[in-house]
Symmetry: none
Subunit: 201 residues, 4 copies
DNA sequence: AATGAATGAGTATTCATTCAT
DNA sequence: GATGAATGAATACTCATTCAT
């Protein structure tokens, strides 16, 4: 009746994520996690085999959350709408879960430390593929330029990722609402081009 | 006239930068720096008050190098050429000094560790301003859309920064030459837009 | 009538002995014993008060095994044969149960850890007494020098123990068959003396 | 003028040896060594790279001391005297430096922990070779049986080593003077043989 | 008969840094 | 300009064990 699914384990992850976001990987130590939970460092080993497993759990969590955001975009009724939603959910993920955005896409350190470069590049591949699917749809439906879908997808990704990185890294000085507007504007510019006469390009 | 070279101080910085570029912040320790110079760790304190000052020197170095790259773009004969060169030098910086790119734009850790968030946001501002100057020139010269130069500049920056981050973070799987092509393609797409009919946007 | 087998308790001892034989005292930990039985470490405390009791069980086991070897020598039909068999069974114990040999005669660690110096010296006394019995028999039967049976017994023991220690401690570089030959040769030399003219001694 | 040869380093070794002899390898910890010197554990790293180097230093020390004892036997004027002295110095080493005897010949653990099986087997080889030289001399001089010098040497070694091990391991209950007598008696028995009629063997 | 949660003491080691020389 | 000695705080992790269930 009462098999609560290991609340301590989840609390450990939460604290670990918190520490990572506040001070980087160097602040994610067993001692600090434990202190944050008013536990002995050793108690953590009840729930995780070692530190690496905690880091893995953080990443797994971030993966799942990001996946949920992406999935929402598939609810669009047309290819165009799904493309648009892809951008919007990406933005929403950045705005609502900036900590996980950082974990997944701005934390090369965490992935180098543990032997997990593979996992992250796999996830990167998924993200890219997801956008590539949207672009391919768009080409089929005739609203996107037909040449080089790969380049189009990558360009969109770079745009979104760049905006996200600048915002999360506090290189753009704005608040959430400001970022929302900026993001959509940039998305629009990318669609329409920024040159007066595209033909000159 | 008599050029005091402070050779040891410079060598310390050189070794520190080297360590950072090879293994990231975690490898920059007083001991390793000293070992690299066949000195005692204590000897470093003759030249720097503490470790923080050495990290500051690394960042300063990165700033200088990035500034040199940016500066090259000003050699262009026209606003259009200078804009184009701005993209190219940004790309060159990423390709030739990826680790400095990381220091400046992907390493919140190094800036949080030392109290220097201000310095980096200042640098960010400079980068943004530099691109904004190019855009303003472009509008004046009539080859860029005239509305909202800030958004245009930011969009270009996000594009470049996004491509750089994905590449340096190994989220795009390609080599230097591949990246060069991708970068220029994305730059082109951004200029021309990716929609079939920009008017529909 | 109903033979309570206390199966778990015996299995714990078996695993503990196994661990000891494979990796020495340092590998005998509650965790590893438990893992070997697919149990929680805590489960062991149902069957033993603490780790010390498990170590005692290992020693007891070694004692029993050694006793069985010695006992075989009593099957000899004559005092001379029994003496010979005493040497042979000692050798067999070394060759077939080298790790128990270590437990009993080369492992002050295990006995110092637990408060058991008494038990081992008692066992040592038994071993010595057993050889002394053989020597006394031999003197009575007239094939051993009659003076100082204690010295004779101790000399034989030192010989056997020395060979065993050198072999088990890998100070003699040979295999089991080589050791067998060496042991018997040394046993022979001890019997016959190594000087040309024993009278000179 | 006053370059005392690193007294702290030697004191560290002394304390480490002390700990080893009192409680076995498990008691040789950086913390305890430091505590014994009223130092911080970290201070030890000033003098040794790590724990392994301390263990190595212990062994090296023991090697040197043992070598000095063996060397004395070469002062004998004849082969017979040198042989006799070899036994006596072996005995003296056991009596005067039982702790080093234990380190060298009764501590497989210390050699397994660090990767040094080679060093000890090398030392074992030296000891064996030293006795073999004495035996070969003895055969040439005509006071030792001429067949199989290797077996003779090994037998002598086993005898001495066995007596030493039993004494140091407290399996023989006697004091230093008692041991001296026993050792010499056993040495004599080995020389003369223990059988009434050596020919029967 | 066994488990889950947690503890406290202890392990080697790394690091930046102070002090006296 | 540099060294030697030592410190104090941290790091991940192992172990035996207690307690409640």
């Amino acid at each position: 009746m009462k098999h609560r699914p290991q609340p301590t384990r989840d609390r450990i992850i939460a604290v670990a994520v918190d520490l990572y976001l506040k001070g980087g990987l160097k602040d994610v130590t067993m001692r600090r996690i434990a202190r944050g939970l008013r536990l002995t460092p050793m108690a953590l080993y009840r729930h995780f085999k070692n530190k690496e497993e905690i880091l893995l759990a953080i990443i797994e969590k971030a993966f799942i959350v990001f996946g949920e955001y992406q999935f929402r975009a598939l609810a669009g009724k047309s290819a165009a709408e799904r493309m648009w939603l892809a951008g919007e959910t990406y933005m929403a993920f950045i705005l609502e879960k900036p900590e996980f955005f950082r974990v997944l896409f701005m934390a090369p350190d965490i992935f180098e430390q543990i032997e997990l470069t593979e996992a992250i590049s796999e996830r990167a591949q998924q993200t890219y593929q997801f956008l590539l699917d949207r672009v391919s749809e768009g080409i089929r439906e005739g609203f996107l330029k037909s040449n080089e879908p790969e380049d189009l997808a990558r360009t969109i990704w770079a745009m979104c990722h760049g905006m996200g990185s600048l915002y999360v890294g506090r290189l753009i000085d704005t608040d959430a609402e400001g970022f929302r507007i900026m993001f959509l504007k940039s998305f629009g510019h990318l669609g329409a081009g920024i040159l007066i006469d595209a033909a000159t390009q």
